[in-house]
């Protein structure tokens, strides 16, 4: 799983070291948050190469802009950079008109990166199928809804943090989350074979 989480004091000390151009200190922050950053970037961009580039660029930007970090949650500050970089990549991709949702079918490519423990091969296969279905459902969402649902329901950010990361008002965040959830539910209901029985309508 992810690198051992840093407590607030450790993180603050590392940030202070990194502020003196200590790249090794900053790399401890990179190790801590790179999986989170990559997960968000991959699910936003649905393309491994672009997600890798976006995450690398985000860390470089973060190191260069570390002097502008005014305290608070470094994780949220970093995720804001990642989110903005992903938006930049999406805009560039739209300009090039090379958006290809078929990249989403790279399940074989990203499947090895799903981690779980102590499950049978059958359970693993089912879980992988379900995860792929959910990722496909996420990929159908508009970008603004996709980022909030990823931050809120996949990575567990609070509404306030999502507002800070995305820079949109609270009401907009709530609205986007509810619409995204509704769309995801409808998408999953349209593909019920892998879903739990509770998804089937009672009426």
């Amino acid at each position: 799983m992810s690198h051992a989480a840093l407590n607030a004091t450790e993180e603050e000390a590392i940030i202070q070291q990194a502020l003196h151009d200590d790249i090794n200190a900053f790399n401890r922050l990179v190790e801590t948050y790179e999986r989170l950053a990559y997960s968000v970037a991959y699910r936003m961009l649905q393309n491994q190469e672009q997600a890798t580039d976006a995450v690398q660029e985000s860390f470089i930007k973060a190191f260069r802009a570390l002097k502008t970090f005014r305290g608070g949650s470094f994780k949220s500050w970093l995720m804001r950079i990642v989110t903005n970089t992903c938006y930049d990549t999406l805009r560039a991709r739209k300009r090039q008109n090379t958006d290809n949702l078929n990249d989403l079918a790279e399940s074989d490519e990203h499947a090895p990166y799903f981690i779980d423990r102590a499950e049978s091969p059958g359970e693993y296969a089912e879980r992988m199928e379900l995860n792929r279905l959910i990722d496909q459902a996420i990929a159908t969402l508009p970008e603004d809804q996709r980022i909030v649902i990823l931050l809120c329901d996949v990575h567990g950010y609070a509404y306030e943090e999502i507002c800070e990361i995305t820079g949109v008002p609270m009401g907009t965040v709530k609205s986007r989350i509810s619409r995204a959830r509704g769309k995801l539910r409808d998408y999953l209901l349209a593909n019920p074979e892998l879903l739990p029985s509770a998804f089937r309508p009672t009426a």
């Binding site: 990559y38 672009q50 580039d53 660029e57 799903f114 981690i115 989350i177």
Partner: protein, 368 residues
């Protein structure tokens, strides 16, 4: 499906209920609706399951380490990143668009238009680099030279007329007032010429006032020096008898040391103004002294007459001097380069004509 049926409980309210982001009243409303309507309960449950599935999505394992290296950080940009590649591709696509624009339509018309326009540019460049063109004038730091040259003959006549009229009242003060007024105008013209140095010669020519700095400087010097005063030494010599005071002589010496009268065209306008003004003052004072002493009631008109003659000759000489200097031509479109101008017009007309024909052929191609 069921979720599309209208109910008083909105999706947003259910979503907020799941996140415990509702008021107590909203919570009570949702729970009451769930108790009364199985459809609402089902919607809420499926929404909760959706969120649960999303929560179970694992973090992805990174394909590689994103640890930074000094090379990554201190390079001018992350050259290997996708973003920079995107920018390059965007530039390439812009260039491709431009190419495709020019490749459409009749290539013959397009090439003729290009050739005509290129010819026009070459001719224009030739005209611009001809010695004495407006570009040359600006480069030499004398922006309004051609306007002054064009106006040069005019003040000769007018100064003569004014100074001749000044002879009749036999009043040296009146003559000096006229000269000072003219000098002030000349100063204004010189300052304005400096301010508008980048304007074309034609523009300045259109606005050219009656007097120019050089001619009036020469006039003033001649007037101050009296008859046959043609250089600094003579100016000083002529002024000395009138200015007996040693202090005045010293002042005159310092004034005469200014090179204004010697090289009216080359010196800076401000220096010329100050020198000419000083000489005028000295001459005015000397004539006033002579009038007061009753020595030369007729000297003043004689001086005025002789000064006007000298001024006329000096002005003509100055105009001639200026007229032979570089910068005589107004521009490449000057009258002495009319053939070049006509060729330029023809080239430009052909360029516009062929461009229009090419655009017409291009639109026809697009329509077909």
């Amino acid at each position: 499906m069921n979720s599309s049926q209208p109910t008083p409980i909105s999706e947003e309210l259910l979503s907020a209920y799941l996140d415990d982001a509702v008021t107590p009243q909203e919570r009570a409303l949702v729970e009451a609706a769930m108790a009364e309507d199985a459809e609402v309960a089902w919607r809420l449950e499926t929404l909760r399951l959706t969120v649960t599935l999303l929560n179970k999505l694992p973090e992805l394992q990174t394909p590689r380490s994103f640890a930074l290296t000094p090379a990554m950080v201190y390079k001018s940009a992350a050259s290997g990143t996708r973003a920079s590649n995107d920018q390059e591709n965007e530039r390439t696509s812009v260039w491709t668009t431009i190419q495709s624009f020019f490749q459409a339509g009749s290539p013959l018309m397009r090439n003729f238009a290009t050739a005509s326009f290129a010819s026009f540019l070459i001719l224009a460049a030739l005209g611009s680099f001809t010695p004495g063109s407006s570009t040359d004038i600006i480069a030499n730091g004398r922006p309004a030279a051609s306007a002054e040259i064009a106006a040069a003959p005019q003040p000769v006549e007018q100064v003569v007329a004014k100074q001749s009229s000044a002879q009749e009242p036999a009043d040296a003060g009146a003559v000096s007032d006229e000269a000072e007024t003219a000098q002030g105008t000349a100063t204004f013209v010189a300052l304005r010429s400096m301010q508008e140095g980048t304007e074309t010669a034609e523009t300045l020519l259109g606005d050219a006032p009656v007097f120019t700095t050089e001619s009036l400087e020469t006039d003033a010097a001649a007037y101050a020096a009296g008859p046959a005063a043609t250089n600094d030494e003579e100016v000083l010599a002529a002024a000395v008898p009138a200015a007996e005071d040693e202090a005045e002589r010293a002042q005159l010496e310092s004034s005469a040391a200014e090179p204004a009268a010697a090289e009216p065209v080359v010196i800076a306008a401000g220096q010329a103004d100050s020198a000419a003004a000083a000489e005028l003052t000295a001459a005015d004072e000397s004539m006033a002294e002579e009038s007061t002493a009753g020595v030369a009631d007729t000297t003043a008109p004689q001086m005025g007459e002789e000064s006007s003659v000298a001024a006329t000759s000096a002005s003509v000489a100055a105009a001639k001097e200026v007229s032979v200097m570089p910068g005589q031509e107004d521009s490449a479109f000057g009258t002495d380069q009319s053939p070049l101008r006509y060729v330029q017009i023809v080239a430009l007309t052909l360029a516009v004509l062929f461009a229009a024909l090419w655009l017409m052929s291009r639109s026809r191609t697009a329509a077909s």
